[in-house]
């Protein structure tokens, strides 16, 4: 191992401070170097590329702010950003509501609750691409079980093409995402709830408070940090959605479901325009940083007050 040599310079408990420092640096160095090379440097390169007309094949030309000017005029980018925002709002709300419901159900020790938790978390571990192919099949008009059941139940007649209208296409993706990720939301909220001291509830019970009241006055306020965490994770994750749209809707119907990452991919690897792709990336990065900062501030302020 690369580190064994230096590790032999065994630091005494009160050994020289400098030696101790260097040793710590050695421990973190491999990870830091990798993160620098595979993450920090690419971020910098992306920023540089966004000022170039840069083809995938390598030809490039400095064009200043042209890519950003183009971004400003690109209606598809702004439409896509609007759609991604709408999707994020819906997914976040759905995850919070369903996640809360499930967390309330499984937070207590109760016979069989472990099995329930396992069932709700299970979809979290499969990939989004895999889940999307599963959904594609379940919803297929000819061979899928969902249209078949709907027809059998007499709810619809004739063909069911979920991905042919915007509301149904979006709904299908949202249901997929909730199914696939709500287990995680549930776990986080559940842990947060379990961390709330029972004393509060006991006192409230003595005062004759009802469960709904306790939820509103005790659970919700004390869960704020957890909710903030869930919000940040969900918002970032939703703004970066790609797999499910790439596979399920392919941007349709009528280009109404194109997430921003799809445009970044398209500009770079279908149009071979890496410069413009990079400019969109920087735009997305800035938006996400701002959103995260706002959420952190809100959560912190509320905590202070």
């Amino acid at each position: 191992m690369a580190l064994s040599l230096s590790a032999r310079t065994r630091p005494r408990r009160r050994g020289p401070q400098a030696r101790r420092q260097r040793l710590g640096l050695l421990f973190v160095l491999p990870a830091v170097a990798l993160v620098l090379g595979i993450f920090v440097v690419p971020v910098v390169v992306t920023a540089v590329m966004s000022f170039y007309d840069w083809s995938l094949l390598g030809q490039r030309r400095f064009i200043g702010l042209d890519n950003y000017r183009r971004l400003g005029e690109d209606t598809q980018f702004w439409q896509s950003l609007g759609f991604t925002t709408l999707y994020t709002v819906i997914v976040t709300a759905a995850l919070l509501v369903v996640g809360f419901g499930l967390a309330l159900a499984v937070r207590h020790r109760r016979r069989g609750v472990g099995v329930l938790r396992t069932a709700f978390v299970m979809p979290v571990v499969i990939g989004f691409a895999t889940a999307a192919y599963l959904t594609l099949w379940l919803l297929d008009d000819r061979i899928g079980i969902v249209p078949d059941l709907l027809r059998r139940a007499g709810l619809v007649e004739g063909s069911v093409s979920v991905f042919s209208t915007f509301p149904t296409a979006l709904a299908a993706v949202v249901v997929l995402v909730v199914w696939k990720t709500v287990g995680l939301t549930m776990l986080l909220l559940m842990t947060g709830m379990q961390a709330i001291s029972q004393d509060f509830y006991e006192a409230a019970q003595v005062d004759g408070a009802r469960p709904a009241r306790m939820f509103r006055s005790i659970t919700l306020p004390l869960l704020r940090p957890t909710i903030g965490l869930v919000l940040i994770l969900t918002v970032i994750g939703s703004y970066l959605a790609f797999d499910q749209f790439f596979i399920l809707t392919q941007g349709g119907p009528d280009n109404s479901t194109i997430p921003v990452v799809y445009l970044i991919y398209r500009a770079g690897f279908i149009d071979f325009d890496l410069g413009y792709s990079a400019a969109m990336s920087i735009g997305l990065m800035v938006i996400l940083l701002i959103l995260t900062a706002i959420q952190l501030l809100v959560v912190r302020n509320r905590e202070d007050s």
Binding site: P30, L36, I38, P42, G58, R70, Q250, I258, R266, F272
Partner: protein, 430 residues
């Protein structure tokens, strides 16, 4: 598993990464050493890329070649259609390009436009049967008079019509529609049969399908959707309006199934196959599919327009990558694949069209008159000229599909043209 890095190696790689990326910006030119013109070198075993949709015939060809040339076998690699150009460009970037590239005809300009293929003009000119090669396939592979690829595997789009339904509807099955008016009229009469029968069908939510089968309606109406050098869309062309209005009429008047609006290609073939659809435009590849369908009596005809007929020349051209290490093997394979014997016994035998007009006369093609029709269409078939074919016509979020849908389904030609102009311009700009 050699993909498992040990910490030492990882750290070293990470350090190298940081160092190398600092110089990355100064060193990204695509360096593809070009062989001197007219002289091909390298006669070792070669590699070849084919796209998934056209794999079967290439498999047969490569197997036959490898049997005859045990010392310089060809290794074939199949690439998904949708990612072919992207992956090829990436492979060239990383010096990993195959010797032979069999690429979608409509995409060859994406490769020649970036100067990724070897000039084979001298070799082609030496071929005695050069004039018999599918002209559109050669033209599209030619830049400034230099030839970079040759037709390899051909398919033409044509109009399929159900003879049984034609007879029932009082139409003459020996006289398929030869103009847009006749097409709409026939569709109307067939739809009138009722019982779930529709006169016409197309894949209304499939970009690639409509590039292949809807563009010919426009060409046959005497115009085009792009200018001659493929740098600008010509959505105002009256021929565009003629073709799309015919579709709009058939949609508005319910002469096609409602499901066509959502068909992303998955059920493109099945309506006609079930005998419930009177006419559909498809590639010649569908002949073998429909032939196997019991009780389906169908004919084929060139795709009609307002001013004649047209076809899209689909399939692949094959070229030699710039800097191919085994370019001589590659060329020998190309020449061999076009020889009369191979065209007749390997290509025609797998049910494919021959790339040479003078080899269409063979027992396999003669056994299927519809394929003979297809082979005769090759001479007049066209290919759209653009280096952005994928972005414009194949990408499901591209401008072409949206243009059609706005016109036909949303019924708003003005909006279709306005949005379409923006969409084409934006994707052509990259």
């Amino acid at each position: 598993m050699n993909t498992t890095p040990r910490p030492r190696r990882l750290a070293a790689v990470a350090a190298a990464l940081v160092a190398a990326t600092l110089t990355a910006c100064s060193n990204t030119g695509a360096d593809t050493p070009s062989s001197p013109t007219g002289q091909l070198t390298g006669s070792g075993p070669a590699t070849m890329w084919v796209r998934a949709a056209d794999e079967p015939m290439d498999k047969a060809l490569v197997a036959a070649w490898n049997e005859a040339n045990p010392t310089r076998k060809i290794t074939m690699l199949t690439v998904p259609d949708a990612q072919y150009v992207q992956k090829y460009v990436q492979a060239v970037r990383s010096g990993d390009a195959p010797d032979l590239a069999a690429v979608d005809i409509a995409n060859v300009k994406s490769l020649t436009g970036e100067n990724l293929l070897t000039d084979i003009t001298a070799q082609v000119n030496a071929l005695p049967y050069k004039a018999a090669l599918a002209p559109a396939g050669v033209d599209i592979s030619t830049v400034d008079g230099r030839i970079y690829a040759l037709p390899h595997q051909l398919d033409v789009s044509m109009l399929y019509y159900n003879k049984t339904l034609f007879t029932k509807a009082g139409l003459d099955p020996a006289k398929p529609p030869a103009s847009l008016d006749e097409l709409v009229d026939a569709a109307r009469k067939i739809t009138a049969l009722g019982d779930g029968v529709y006169g016409f069908s197309f894949a209304g939510n499939c970009a690639g399908c409509n590039a292949y089968t809807l563009l010919p309606y426009i060409w046959a109406s005497g115009g085009d959707i792009m200018n001659a050098d493929g740098t600008q869309a010509t959505l105002d062309d009256p021929a565009v309006a003629a073709a799309l209005n015919a579709h709009k009429t058939m949609w508005d008047d319910k002469l096609m199934p409602a499901a066509v609006k959502d068909d992303n290609g998955a059920t493109w073939l099945s309506g006609f196959q079930s005998g419930k659809v009177g006419m559909v435009a498809l590639g010649s590849f569908a002949v073998s599919v429909y032939k196997a369908q019991p009780g389906l009596d169908f004919g084929v005809t060139p795709i009609p327009g307002a001013k004649g007929t047209a076809s899209f020349l689909g399939g692949d051209v094959v070229g030699i990558s710039k800097g191919a290490k085994n370019a001589q093997t590659a060329w020998d394979f190309i020449a061999w694949s076009m020889s009369e014997d191979v065209q007749k016994t390997v290509v025609a035998k797998t049910g494919q069209l021959t790339v040479r007009a003078d080899t269409a006369d063979n027992s396999f093609t003669h056994a299927e008159p519809r394929l003979l029709t297809a082979n005769q269409l090759i001479a007049q078939a066209k290919v759209p000229v653009t280096a952005k074919y994928n972005a414009l016509f194949i990408d499901p979020t591209g401008p072409y599909l949206q243009f059609i849908r706005n016109w036909v389904f949303a019924g708003d030609p003005a909006k279709a043209v306005a949005d379409g102009k923006d969409g084409f311009a934006s994707r052509l700009r990259s």
